[in-house]
């Protein structure tokens, strides 16, 4: 999604107020500048009339100058991605970039070029889910990866023997990036990637395993859907939330008929494995 940058020249007394007003008309984030305030909004939500209306309200009290420009779509994470270190999950999985030498002592060698998508294994949640995957059955199963980011979990799933993978994300970068990473790892066959959410997956599609590394709120609202797509005996791995949020996630899953298998934590982040027993 492309963004528009709005630059406002205003006195400090009005930065808070303009922040609040602009947030209400869709601006997502803000930076205070020496001149006043910069505000950022996606191109599709940018409405010049709404902006003029906000400015007009306060122009009678204070001088406000403004200008805006469309920003280029760019991989802002490039600098970090150029030099990231490989990640190891035990002695089984090694996640690396193309510029790293392979290490044959690992069973699973994963090549990831992240391009501003989440999932390199550096974050505790990705590491935790991969670690759980190593002890879960994958062979011959259809696996779904919800909020796939780089596609790292689906790729590992496939390398662990999954028959097919369905991966999706709301972010267009992630979808593009997952496709690239699937190709890099030679797992493009029987691998479907699309931009969307769980509600875009037809109900008749059933999976033996579901991976969802997202966040607490999304999980709480979507676990009920995951259960509908899970075959009896299938497993669900959820992550992307802190330890303190684990009880809410567990309660939600139990209310939806799942059985908790185990919880694992790392750097205050949690991952829980559930099973659909009937």
């Amino acid at each position: 999604m492309n963004y528009v940058e709005l630059s406002l020249t205003i006195t400090p007394d009005y930065t808070d107020i303009l922040t609040a007003e602009l947030a209400e008309v869709g601006y997502e984030s803000f930076v205070e500048t020496d001149e006043g305030l910069n505000a950022y909004i996606t191109e599709d939500l940018f409405d010049e009339a709404a902006l003029e209306a906000v400015i007009a309200k306060y122009q009678i009290f204070t001088a406000i100058a403004h200008s805006w420009k469309a920003l280029e779509k760019k991989n802002w994470n490039e600098e970090w991605e150029r030099s990231y270190e490989p990640i190891e999950v035990g002695r089984a999985v090694r996640v690396r970039a193309q510029f790293h030498e392979p290490d044959d002592s690992f069973t699973y060698d994963l090549l990831i070029t992240p391009k501003m998508s989440f999932g390199t294994g550096h974050h505790a949640t990705t590491w935790l889910v991969m670690n759980e995957q190593l002890s879960l059955p994958h062979t011959g199963l259809d696996i779904m990866d919800v909020g796939c980011g780089t596609g790292i979990l689906a790729i590992l799933g496939r390398k662990l023997g999954a028959k097919s993978i369905v991966a999706f994300d709301i972010d267009e970068w992630a979808v593009e990036n997952s496709r690239e990473n699937f190709a890099l790892n030679g797992v493009e066959q029987d691998a479907e990637v699309f931009q969307g959410t769980i509600t875009d997956v037809p109900l008749e599609r059933q999976f033996g395993g579901i991976l969802a590394n997202i966040n607490r709120n999304i999980l709480l609202s979507e676990i009920t859907h995951y259960v509908q797509h899970l075959l009896p005996g299938g497993w669900l791995v959820v992550s992307g939330f802190y330890e303190m949020d684990e009880p809410d996630i567990v309660q939600c899953a139990l209310e939806n008929g799942l059985t908790k298998v185990r919880t694992d934590t790392r750097n205050e982040w949690a991952t829980v494995v559930f099973e659909k027993t009937s």
Partner: protein, 151 residues
């Protein structure tokens, strides 16, 4: 040994909605920091404040690591929440769009105290009331210090 600080980045981001686009992307990416790591942490820590604008101060270190502190939402946002209005008045000097009580002003002042340059809650309340007036929000009733004076 403590890590050597390379600098600070100050942003205001909606709770639970950090993403690698501008301004987060360019602000952190240009320093070689892992943007996705920041977004995941910020979103994880702000799930209870979804959609609310939150100031965040990121400290980044010479080794490209970082940590951050999330501050209290801007007073104008808290006032909008308190009055349940979607935006300030179209003519803040003439048309009042909502009102808050002095108790609500006190609550907001107490919430904001850690981030304000105020020594007393009363002075913070005066600051919040000033912001309310600028937005076309009436503060109903008498200020506590006026009541005290009368007593």
């Amino acid at each position: 040994m403590a890590k050597e600080i390379a600098g600070y980045v100050k942003l205001q981001v909606k709770g639970g909605q950090a993403n690698p686009s501008p301004p987060i992307g360019p602000a952190l990416g240009s320093k070689g920091l892992n943007i996705m790591e920041f977004c995941k942490q910020f979103n994880g820590r702000t799930q209870d404040k979804m959609g609310m604008v939150l100031p965040v101060v990121i400290t980044y270190y010479k080794d490209k690591s970082f940590d951050f502190v999330i501050k209290t939402p801007p007073a104008a946002i808290l006032l909008m929440e308190a009055t349940k209005i979607k935006s300030g008045s179209a003519q803040p000097n003439r048309t009042k769009v909502g009102s808050v009580s002095w108790d609500q002003v006190r609550q907001i002042a107490e919430t904001k105290m850690p981030d304000l340059n105020c020594f007393t809650v009363d002075s913070a309340m005066k600051m919040i009331a000033g912001t309310a007036r600028s937005m076309g929000i009436t503060v109903s009733g008498k200020a506590p210090w006026e009541e005290n004076k009368e007593a």
